[in-house]
């Protein structure tokens, strides 16, 4: 006789029942949980449950040197780590009044935009997989790998580069690197047509994604929605343009928007953003060889570097939305306080809870993925 390994669940004597999405579920992005109460097929209540990825980053950063924290910050958003590094560096540079050399700024932009394309390729693969379509995921992740190869060549790391330091970047672009970036971009540009045919204009996908998880403009503003999710509601806001950092004002790029605010619109905005990112990188490739100069403003002995007392709030546009770092220094060797504002904290908790209610069981996973939330940003 086998032990009964399972105790039957006593469902409440109503037609309502409860279902857990996560923390380990293909319908949820990463280690994150959504508990829903269903009435038939309709969600009547939804609660998120985070903290599975909590590491106490903000506490850890208070215990480490300014320069050591560079190794910590990219871990906060795994699919798109570069904006985290850049944002932290920007905040520290602002505190310490360091001017970043122009060449380093251009290289940072190059890296940021490559990271954005990589994150979007990863994103729509996941979104496709929630609708049961695995081919775009297989293609997208494999194409993203080509970009990771570029990162590896530039920085030495596939995902976490630890490349942006306060004051500049660690090393120069290798010889012939820009040509390889250009080739890879040509390839990805060509592949976008395949993705269009396979996924973005796929009739069944369009039918399923249209009208799912709609946010209107007022709600988007009220809920602090940022990034592509905000632009999918028709609001044209981008930190790169409206609160500019690095050399973005010198670059020519559009901010794609969609009007509908549903899952389809959010996906399409990201699709269009990839084109814009490719455009930006092409400009960087063209301009970078002519920009000479140092790569780093030297900082004093990094192991005993005291950053002047003060506070700084730096913002960067990542592929998920507005990333912000609030860094407080009391003039010590370590940050006094670092507060990280991940865009997903809004999207994955408040927005998701509101969008899930009233949606169908079949659409929950799509809602989650189309918001492109990144759970470690919530948990930190």
């Amino acid at each position: 006789m086998r032990p009964e390994n399972y105790q039957a669940v006593n469902h409440p004597p109503s037609h309502e029942f409860e279902l857990n999405f996560g923390p380990n579920h293909p319908g949820i992005e990463g280690n994150f949980a959504l508990k829903v109460k269903l009435q038939g097929d309709i969600v009547v209540e939804a609660r998120t449950d985070a903290g599975y990825l909590h590491r106490g980053f903000e506490k850890l950063m208070e215990d480490r040197l300014w320069i050591q924290n560079i190794a910590l910050v990219p871990r906060i958003c795994v699919p798109d780590p570069v904006p985290m590094e850049v944002c932290y560096s920007l905040a520290v540079e602002d505190l310490a009044n360091i001017e970043v050399p122009e060449r380093a700024q251009w290289i940072r932009v190059l890296q940021l935009e490559l990271s954005r394309i990589a994150a979007h390729l990863f994103f729509f693969g996941g979104h496709a997989a929630t609708t049961g379509m695995y081919t775009p995921m297989y293609w997208g992740v494999a194409d993203r790998d080509l970009l990771l190869d570029l990162f590896e060549e530039l920085t030495g790391g596939r995902i976490y580069s630890i490349y942006n330091l306060p004051g500049g970047v660690r090393q120069d672009v290798p010889e012939g690197f820009l040509q390889r970036v250009s080739d890879t971009l040509d390839y990805i540009d060509g592949r976008l047509k395949d993705y269009d045919n396979l996924f973005f204009t796929n009739q069944i996908f369009v039918k399923r994604a249209r009208g799912v998880g709609t946010i209107n403009q007022q709600q988007a503003l009220d809920w602090s929605v940022t990034g592509p999710n905000l632009r999918a509601c028709g609001l044209e806001f981008d930190v790169r343009r409206d609160d500019p950092y690095l050399i973005y004002p010198q670059l020519d790029f559009d901010i794609p928007t969609e009007q509908a605010g549903d899952a389809l619109a959010r996906t399409l905005v990201r699709r269009l953003e990839m084109v814009e990112s490719i455009r930006i990188i092409r400009q960087v490739i063209k301009a970078l060889p002519d920009i000479k100069g140092p790569l780093r403003t030297p900082i004093p002995n990094p192991l005993a570097w005291r950053v002047p007392a003060g506070e700084s709030y730096a913002r960067v546009e990542s592929s998920k939305g507005e990333v912000a770092y609030y860094v407080v220094s009391n003039g010590g060797e370590k940050p006094y306080r670092v507060h990280i504002r991940g865009p997903s904290a809004m999207h994955a908790v408040q927005v998701l809870e509101k969008l899930a209610v009233g949606s169908r069981l079949e659409d929950i996973a799509q809602t989650i993925f189309s918001l492109d939330a990144c759970p470690p940003e919530v948990d930190r």
């Binding site: 106490g56 809920w223 700084s312 709030y313």
Partner: protein, 193 residues
């Protein structure tokens, strides 16, 4: 544009008593204000000055002053200025008002601050634990909580001198140089056995 607009804003902000404004740079405005006046300031900024986007609420634990500093980062899409409203509340008893009725996203940040710092917000919709549901200790982000000490008391560590290595060392093998010996300038390793 932002400078011109800030003139109007300045006029508007004079309605709040005891406010101190400092421009850190043209797009970062710091406002120091008494804790009681904050809800009025936020209502004014949101209602009459287009600051609709609550970017974040940060909490800083100034343990030497026995105070928590709360920083409300507000962004205006129209004027492209970020106002950081700073207030100080006493660490004891650690209670402040929620601004959930003015800014919906505040609910998340307030809940987060409550479990990380133990600062209670009256009127916030949900103050239950969110991230640290399995945590029974003190609010970890307070400066008086020593994370490293807690870890050392709670966890044990992987052995870096396992049995098989000890056997190897008895036969004369083992690790040639430890990290410490390299760091101190390639001194010959002391025999630990």
């Amino acid at each position: 544009m932002s400078i011109a607009h800030s003139q109007n804003l300045n006029v508007l902000l004079q309605e709040i008593e005891g406010i101190q404004l400092t421009f850190h740079n043209p797009r970062r405005l710091r406002a120091d204000i008494a804790a009681e006046a904050l809800p009025a300031l936020l209502a004014l900024l949101r209602g009459r000055a287009s600051y609709v986007h609550l970017s974040a609420i940060s909490c800083v634990d100034w343990i030497d002053d026995n105070q928590f500093e709360l920083v409300y980062h507000l962004w205006s899409y129209e004027t492209s200025v970020l106002i950081s409203a700073h207030i100080r509340v006493p660490r004891d008893p650690g209670i402040y008002l929620s601004v959930f009725d003015i800014y919906t996203p505040a609910a998340f940040f307030e809940r987060d601050i409550h479990e990380m710092f133990g600062l209670y917000f009256e009127g916030s919709p949900d103050m239950s634990k969110f991230i640290l549901t399995e945590w029974n200790g003190p609010p970890p982000m307070r400066k008086d909580f020593d994370s490293e000490k807690w870890v050392m008391e709670t966890f044990s560590w992987q052995q870096y001198h396992p049995d098989w290595l000890q056997e190897l060392e008895q036969q004369g093998g083992g690790i040639v140089s430890t990290p410490e010996s390299i760091r101190a300038g390639n001194r010959p390793m002391e025999n630990k056995s």
